[in-house]
């Protein structure tokens, strides 16, 4: 099996500027960074999102597990008020737009546009954190009131942790655009941070549904 | 760094580590065999505890307040001996509340021990002789933990039961004050 002769293939297609020179493959003309799945950062980010996604997913499973064994749900407190959660949903969905623009700008390596949109993203981030604060005040249950309170607080806590770290990331990336020289790799980082923001937005949809409607439906 | 400064840092580090070690050992020891064997067979409830017994008890309660095993044993006994019947998980019922910072007879270790051992007027029964001396100390340590007077590291966390109060480890160690009992109710006014 392993012993059969292996058909040799040309190691590079024409589109990629790695050229054969004698018995060597010259890669000096290759780009030193790439966007999306060409960059290692994208893979690291994907790993990160998988890890957190698994944690979120199981937290939601735990929610329904506990709901399933409960006689009444919520077993203490009331379902959270809808106002701030829904405001958050609107703002977070809205934040996808500047995020998209920032990602595009990073991919175009346009420093000024990157800065502009990162500022907008940061503003959205601050707004989201503020709304999140009010959300916690309107949960209508304490974490030690019962299993329902515990699971709601931890779900919200996990997402808030993500939210805050990514907002801080955005601040840092904005600041870093002022540290010269700006390597191309930094645009990749910004683009990937924007990719991660989509994850924060997308995870909010199921968590919003569970936290705000799990105790109503 | 000068050598003297380094020496001082070294001493501090050693002291810190030693302190952590002692604290950990005090907290974690499980002394299954208590220092004094146990209940006297002849009930001693009528006789007031001797000064020596109180001094010993104060010392032992002081030690047990830093020992998680002793406090948790006290907590178990608090339920087993039906202390909750009157004190209701520490919140107070027909007996006074134990979680607050108000003490009728004083909240120091010796007094709490004495209250449990000899009882008090208006309903607090005497436990000396009925239960081993060691358990009196454990109960006293636990009762103090209810008011946040025991070491927070060693104090119990929440129970696997209906939530009736914040866990002992969260109790606020406010300064205890002594309030004279009202004769009729045994409760502070």
């Amino acid at each position: 099996m392993g012993g059969r002769a292996v058909t040799r293939r040309e190691a590079t297609p024409a589109s990629i500027p790695a050229v054969r020179k004698g018995d060597a493959l010259d890669v000096s003309e290759l780009p030193s960074y790439g966007f999306a799945h060409r960059s290692l950062m994208w893979w690291g980010n994907a790993g990160m999102m998988t890890i957190e996604g698994v944690a979120f997913g199981f937290m939601v499973v735990i929610y329904f597990y506990l709901r399933d064994i409960a006689r009444v749900w919520p077993d203490a407190g009331r379902a959270p008020d809808l106002l701030f959660g829904t405001v958050n949903l609107a703002v977070i969905l809205g934040s996808a737009w500047p995020n998209y623009r920032a990602q595009k700008a990073a991919q175009d390596r346009s420093l000024s546009r990157v800065r502009l949109w990162l500022y907008v993203c940061s503003a959205f981030g601050i707004a989201l954190c503020a709304v999140r604060w009010f959300e916690f005040t309107a949960l209508n249950v304490r974490w030690d009131d019962g299993a329902y309170g515990s699971v709601v607080w931890v779900l919200m806590g996990l997402h808030s942790f993500n939210l805050v770290t990514d907002v801080l990331d955005t601040f840092v990336l904005t600041a870093v655009t002022y540290s010269k020289p700006v390597e191309g790799k930094r645009f990749v980082d910004i683009a990937e941070n924007c990719g991660y923001w989509y994850f924060v937005v997308l995870t909010w949809l199921p968590i919003y549904a569970v936290v705000y409607f799990g105790a109503r439906v | 760094m000068s050598s003297r400064c380094r020496d001082r840092a070294l001493v501090l580090a050693v002291a810190g580590v030693a302190g952590a070690l002692t604290a950990a050992c005090e907290r974690e020891a499980r002394d299954f065999l208590p220092p004094r064997p146990g209940a006297q067979v002849a009930p001693a409830a009528s006789a007031p505890a001797s000064a020596a017994a109180i001094a010993l008890a104060a010392a032992m309660v002081g030690r047990y307040e830093h020992n998680a095993y002793a406090i948790s044993a006290g907590k178990r006994l608090f339920a087993w001996y039906n202390c909750s019947g009157c004190h209701a998980n520490g919140g107070g019922g027909s007996g006074p509340a134990l979680m607050d910072d108000v003490w009728i007879y004083g909240g120091d270790a010796g007094t709490v021990y004495l209250t449990i051992a000899n009882g008090r007027p208006n309903g607090m029964p005497a436990f000396a002789g009925r239960i081993p001396e060691d358990q009196l100390w454990q109960l006293a340590a636990y009762v103090r933990s209810l008011a946040g007077l025991a070491s927070a590291d060693a104090a119990p966390n929440r129970d696997d039961a209906f939530l009736t109060r914040t866990p002992e480890s969260f109790a606020d160690p406010a300064k205890p004050e002594t309030v004279k009992p009202a004769v009729a109710t045994g409760r502070p006014q």
Binding site: R9, A11, A24, D26, S28, S32, D144, G149 | E28
Partner: protein, 664 residues
Amino acid sequence: MDDARALPSRPRPRRRARKAQASDRRELLRDGAGAGSRAAVELERTWQDKPGVRGFLSANGHKTIGLRFVVTAFVFAGLAGVMGGLMRHQLATADSHLVGPDFYNQLFSMHGTTMMFLFAVPVMQGFALYIVPLMIGTRNTAFPRMSACAYWLYLFGGLLLFGAFATNTGPDAGWFAYVPLAGPQYGIGKRADFWNMLVTYSEAMGLMVAVDITTTILKLRAPGMTLRQMPLFVWASLVTSVMIIFAMPLVMLGANLVQFDRMLGTHFFNPAEGGDALLWQHLFWFFGHPEVYFIFIPALGFVSAIIPTFARRPMFGHDAIVLSLITTGFLSFGLWVHHMFATNLPELGKSFFTAMSFMIAIPTAMQIFCWIATIAAGRLVMRTPFLFVLGFFFILMIGGLTGIMLGSVPLDLQVHDTYFVVAHLHYVLLGGAVFPLFAALYYWFPKVTGKMLSERLGKWHFWLFFVGVNLTFFPLHVLGLEGMPRRIYTYGAETGWQTLNFVSAVGQVINDVGTLLFAINLIRTIFFTKERASADPWGAGTLEWSVASPPPKCNFFALPVVSSREPLWAPAAEVTHVQGLSAQIREGLTTTVIDALPDTRYAYPAPEIWPFVAALSVTVWLVWSIWSVPGFAWGLIPPALAFLLWYWPNKKEAIEEVEWEGEP
């Protein structure tokens, strides 16, 4: 190479911060076989760790980190082994009073926790960190600083656990830490908190390394190393890493939920307030069963790397083995309930898990048959690594077959939580992981140190260990059937369990002698052997054997181009290596995921102190949070700062990188 060392050193060119012009590029020093010795010297300098303590703490070469993982893991394993010996000694006689129940509970909890969290997983990940980049032809892993940080987290976590144990705060609720015994009411003191923290540490470590290894394998393979030509050990590492990414978050989450119950008074596991004690068992075993496979699958990779070398032929059924590895990875997520058959879960569901447990035997059987076929069709070189592989067959088979018995719901009801399980799990873990691990140690030792371990001592080690393991653990099957439960610190003489326990203790001593011989072998070879090993002492075919032993700092002076599974056995190819990467900054090549076509050049992160500082600050946070609830929040500030400083661009590096930059 020796010539290159003799050349006078040259200061590195300094440049101003601007995009390199085409004319400048010609002055930059690039690698490649034709680049000459100057490039080689420059490469070694570039890849050298910085000197001094700071350099030691900053190092992020995959060989350094991998080796640190392996050595640290073996130190922890030694300590846990001593605990195991103490337990066997305690149980050797009935009504023994060598240790009391409280200490015994800490002993077996520490033994299990250490072996699973601080030995088995880190040692396999350490091996992967060391071997994988060499095997796939790259200079470092994708995120070396993350792995460096992971190592420090691992070390601090381990030290913290052992520090806790030394101060009588060792976990005492078993390595599975079932609530309520480890919960807020019955897990008194800080013992369970330390266990929860350790789990957080070790899972964070495992996840970081797993992401690193996955990315490395997918994106940094040498040109031409398509997925189908990837060595089996690399496949095993890939499967393991992906499994870790899906399983470990769960136990990390679970341990934190227990910690919230203990610390904040939440009610996840409090049945009186709507929680459920069984929930923890689901969370733990959904991770806990795959955990066994995190240990077992890399070991299968070792075996698959070693057999072809000593059978002098490529592996029979390479593709089938890859498929088996992937299948095993998938199926291992469907087995967790077989640890919970004695609970009151629905019967029908349990039967499903029986079927799954039986099914996972098939891919493993497939691999065993392929290995035997390879041996049958090979020409055998009987060296110590191969002996350990043969021992692996014998012991793993027994462990696997008893595993099938345990997978059956009704039979499990009898033997669950008895010494039968203790026997089974030690057969599986020793046979399935430790024997291959020893094989791997003997096999790759010359690559790592440049010296060969003594064959004579190695064979003694093998036989003593083989006999010892069987003598220690076989009688335990019988004890389990005779009704001896696990985790008891003593038993009465009337139970009749003494004889077999005594035999087991004798086996343990033989085991210890074998291990001692191994230690002597290590010390003798490292400190007293002068003879150097060649680059490829076993005549193996994979890439790690193409470089000197020990490997150069940069691994490859010119990255290889690959066209077969065993490049060193294959006839000479037309294109043999890559040229044109920087010799002055740490540069490598990314390739496409499936076909391994050159994609971009990649500047590896340089060594930095920040991963160490970050790990330290995370430690501060976790320890603080054991003692104080506000500490749980405020303690986040130091790690946040550390990670910020870690990320903040280093001006000098940025300048260098810009000068090597090529736009996509």
